[in-house]
């Protein structure tokens, strides 16, 4: 009797249920579709066109020849110069990531811990640079690091130096500026990655007899490492795709994928090669990010 009733209800209930979910599905599609089309046009399509372009040919005299060839990849990958460019790009990323993390760590730790009423202001101050145009900040660094800049000016005015030392127009300047420009990202990533750190853990270690140094090595550092990893990854990723700063501060000596892509695309008009280099950058990027995340995941177990 009871089972019979249940079956009836089930079959009787189905149409209602289906009607409801069909309507719901249409509604969901309506929510998703406009945004997806926008993102397709503004993001996916360009990537597709670019990938297609990378198989075209840059003809003699610079014309564009529509074809299907691996020539551009061949050229890019068989040429030691481009290997050098890829190497430079990675080196820039590693160095900037490492330095940014080292400098950001004390700030992030300080901001996580401080109970000062100025905390809000200090956080704002640490990440306000993010909201300032990278072009403007690069200009600031040119002013600081240039031959006529603040540092050289100071050193020469005080007689510590007879001629300027070259800080700008080369890799060191690019690295200094990029570290500063990208550091706020590391600070942010760390602050949000320091979630597992809490005062009572460090206090607990203290009551168990750990000195300040031991507390740091055994508790603070291991617990903040995930934040450090994300901070590093973020800066790494942003610096290997940076363009404005290397371009304005590199003095023509800093060859990285981004500047090469820009040169090929706008100066030499070799779109197929620019596209191939972009695809290489993209793949490099994807592999590194995926590998890195795999690695850190294993570390964090």
């Amino acid at each position: 009797m009871v089972t019979l009733q249940t079956t009836q209800l089930r079959t009787g209930g189905l149409p209602v249920k289906e009607k409801r979910s069909a309507k719901q599905r249409a509604g969901t599609l309506g929510l998703i579709l406009p945004g997806s089309i926008g993102l397709f046009v503004g993001f996916v399509l360009p990537l597709i066109v670019m990938i297609r372009m990378s198989f075209n040919q840059h003809g003699t005299g610079g014309q564009l020849v529509e074809t299907l060839t691996f020539e551009n990849y061949g050229r890019a990958l068989s040429d030691p110069f481009y290997w050098q460019v890829i190497g430079n790009t990675l080196w820039l990323g590693l160095l900037c990531g490492g330095l940014a993390v080292i400098l950001a760590y004390p700030i992030a730790l300080f901001l996580t811990r401080t109970t000062s009423k100025w905390k809000g202001v200090l956080i704002a101050l640490a990440i306000a640079p993010l909201l300032t145009s990278a072009v403007a900040r690069t200009y600031g660094w040119i002013a600081i690091l240039g031959d006529q800049g603040i540092i050289n000016g100071f050193l020469m005015d005080t007689g510590l130096l007879s001629g300027p030392i070259r800080l700008n127009n080369d890799m060191p300047g690019v690295i200094i500026a990029l570290v500063e420009i990208l550091m706020p990202y590391a600070i942010l990533a760390m602050i949000s990655g320091f979630g597992r750190l809490n005062n009572s853990l460090e206090e607990a270690a203290g009551t168990l007899g750990a000195s300040r140094f031991k507390v740091f090595m055994r508790v603070t550092l291991p617990l903040t490492l995930p934040g450090v990893f994300t901070g590093f990854l973020l800066v790494f990723v942003l610096s290997i795709s940076s363009f404005v700063t290397p371009r304005l501060m590199g003095g023509g000596r800093v060859f990285i994928l981004a500047t090469e892509v820009y040169n090929e695309a706008t100066q030499t008009l070799n779109w197929p090669l620019a596209s191939a280099l972009s695809v290489i950058l993209l793949i490099l990027f994807g592999l590194l990010v995926a590998g890195y995340q795999q690695l850190t995941k294993r570390f964090e177990d």
Partner: protein, 361 residues
């Protein structure tokens, strides 16, 4: 005296009122003392000063007669269990427990053995390799205890160790902690705002309010002989019967006029001044009198039941007394046969020796 705290004071930076004022506390070797009080009364502040996590503004702390006030936290050798347990999430249970031993040096094998022993004491030896995140609240709680006990601390400090557990587990853990504490003989300070917990577990209880210790006594003393209205109200339920014509008739004995209950002689706090006071009467000491029952000398009052609440084992009634607007609460062990309806006329009485006079609130 194992722990002796003298005139301890703490005023936090940028605050006006002290969080803790002139705390004095002597704890005997092997005792469990509870600091009980409402939220914000300064319990944690006191405990943290004793642990060395917070610097006192004034006062001194001695352990076994040795002044430790300026000893840094990691050299005090105290064990502490935090409300949030504060287990190291990146270490295994065993590593957590052996952390303190490691900090004291000693061989790795010896440490691990001692840590195992501590884990066995809390009956969680089988979880040694787990990460804390993979444990239930009660298990984490016991690990935290094992970690604190592993270093054989001079003093065990517990800050609301049970407040994150659900009701059933909380009750079970009370006994467990108490028995581990007794077995190891570790002098212990327990911070709590739960009166049942304090009454059930402690050898002595310090009742705190606004940074001050209001009473420091054995649980039964606190409950039966509260020194003031705050203590009486905070610990257990109480009827307060305004009393007039208060007159001292002996050391801690008073003759009073207790409203509907008439003239009585009752015990009370020593040295109540003035002719008004309040009589503390616990609801379970109020007796419902059988119809026609006569109890010579017993104060009595008539009234009507205006509310009753049933929680299985206890029935609580609220009686509106017929001659004035006082409401008396009566707690009875429930029995289906005895349950009285709202509106019923009843007579209640109590033994004056079960009541206790305190100064007006």
């Amino acid at each position: 005296m194992h722990l002796s705290v003298q005139n301890l004071n703490k005023t936090y930076p940028r605050t006006e009122v002290p969080a803790v004022s002139d705390i004095n506390l002597d704890v005997q070797q092997g005792d469990l003392v509870a600091l009980l009080g409402p939220s914000g009364c300064g319990k944690t502040t006191t405990l943290r000063m004793i642990a060395g996590l917070l610097e006192p503004s004034a006062g001194s702390i001695r352990v076994k007669g040795k002044e430790v006030t300026s000893t840094p936290v990691h050299k005090r050798g105290m064990g502490m269990v935090f409300q949030s347990y504060a287990l190291f999430p990146h270490m295994s249970v065993l590593d957590n427990v052996s952390f303190g031993l490691e900090m004291r040096g000693g061989g790795r094998r010896g440490n691990r053995k001692a840590a195992k022993a501590a884990l066995d004491m809390v009956q969680l030896g089988h979880l040694a390799e787990r990460r804390p995140a993979a444990l239930s609240g009660g298990q984490q709680q016991r690990i935290a205890l094992a970690r604190a006990l592993a270093i054989e601390p001079t003093l065990l400090l517990l800050d609301e160790p049970l407040s994150n557990l659900d009701a059933k587990l909380r009750e079970a853990m009370r006994h467990e902690i108490r028995s581990i504490q007794q077995r190891s003989g570790t002098t212990t300070l327990l911070v709590t705002h739960d009166q049942d917990e304090a009454l059930d577990m402690a050898d002595k209880i310090a009742i705190m309010e606004n940074g001050i210790i209001q009473q420091y006594d054995a649980p039964q003393e606190i409950y039966e002989h509260p020194t003031n209205k705050f203590v009486a109200n905070f610990v257990g339920k109480a009827n307060f019967i305004p009393s007039t014509s208060v007159r001292q008739v002996g050391e801690g004995r008073y003759s009073i006029e207790a409203g509907a209950f008439g003239d009585l002689t009752v015990p009370g706090v020593v040295g109540i001044k003035g002719d008004r006071a309040e009589l503390v009467l616990r609801p379970h000491r109020v007796r419902l009198m059988a119809d026609g029952e006569v109890a010579a000398d017993r104060p009595r009052a008539r009234g009507q039941i205006i509310a009753s609440s049933y929680t299985g084992n206890v029935v609580s009634y609220e009686m509106q007394s017929s001659d004035n607007d006082r409401v008396i609460r009566i707690d009875q062990l429930s029995h289906p046969a005895d349950r009285l309806p709202v509106g019923a006329e009843i007579t209640v009485s109590f033994d004056p020796e079960d009541a206790y006079l305190v100064a007006e609130g």
